[in-house]
Amino acid sequence: MAITGYLAEFSLAEMFQFLEQGCKTGLLNICTLAGSNTEGQKTHYIWFNQGRIVAAAGSLNQQGLVSMIGQRGWLGDRAASRLAQTCTIGTPMGLCLKAQGALTAEQLKLLFYSQVMRQVCALFELGDAWFQFDAKVPLPPAEMTGLSAPATEVTLAGLRALKDWSALADKLPEPTSALTSIIDGKPQLRLNQVEWQVWEFTNGSVALSAIANQLRLPVEKIQQVAFRLIVSALAEEIPLIAEPIALTPETEPAELSVASTEASAVSQSFLQNLVGFLKGKV
């Protein structure tokens, strides 16, 4: 089943986290909305293999990688296409050309950086767009360098470069929330200095506003860093208890006060009777 939605509702960062954590394979289409930016309506294509990004392109014509190689003067379009025809079916074209001595490992890295890291990171600037993830679409060997990157690594790079966070404002963790680590040990991802500083507080007890005070940084900045750690699957947001409000009889009828009732064991016979009773209502 295809997953569809709008980035304003489920952000690209959340989508990438979902695709990586779900080890998803398939094609993510991102279609910009008319009038949402200067480039007009355009569709971006990103292919995933087991949660890793393996290729990206601006069209489905299978010519993106060949074109990039040609633009750099490394190989003519015709020569690249002819060499590609000799590749084993399913082999990423980049690896195939490298095996034939037409490209070096360093050139493949540069191609991957331009194709995936630069193009996909730019998509984090989109305020809104329609997306569809289809797990039935096969991988495109002609667009693949053979290299790949974890989706969250691309997210980290994209969000670090993001200047306008307004589209993500309601996604950010609350200043009153804390962070807790959800990994064993230290992150394997390369964190920057402020990310490491915030990471040191992932103990589930220090509010982001308090972290901001300690680091002498604006709380918005800390919220952004915390969001990066969350969507990179390194930490989870833990809401802390807000300041109690004054309860009135109107808001909490006294006879319903659960605070006055201690938790006590429930017997198996109670549970069996309850299930029997409820089955009569089904």
Partner: protein, 179 residues
Amino acid sequence: MEIMRLVVTGPVGAGKSTFIRSVSEIEVVDTDRRATDETLMLKKRTTVAFDFGRLQFGTEMALHLYGTPGQSRFDFMWDILIRKAHAYILLVAAHRPYEFRSARRILGFMKQRSQIPMIIGLTHADCPGAWDAENIAIALGYLDANKCPPIITVNPNESASVAEAVIALVQHSMQGCLV
């Protein structure tokens, strides 16, 4: 009187109040009052304290249901409720992916305070754009199917569906040790 307390939690608009109304034998004690912030866009009224419902099925046996506040700033009330609960159900609207992060936030809050049995109830699962259970589990952070709590679909407007959900929660609780 032997009482089992179940908490019904989830993001705003997931169907918590309706869920309790559908199964309670008493007029649900509705502590709703007019919301004054962005939740007004979603619901004309939202729960600021909690909903309470009851199901008495014997002279000395009753099920109490508590709906958590719909707004995160009242989470002190969640704290009280979850500490006294025997089990809880997290309701998630399957067609609103923008609420998944809120649901995940609630899960984080709950898991830090209590290890009581819980299940996930998917509402609006038949709506256009609804995610399936497997993908929602991933979006909520359950990456290992063996460690994922039971996920059921539930229609909060239908008493029979809610009764089935409560049965699932109680049966899940029976597999563990209720304290």
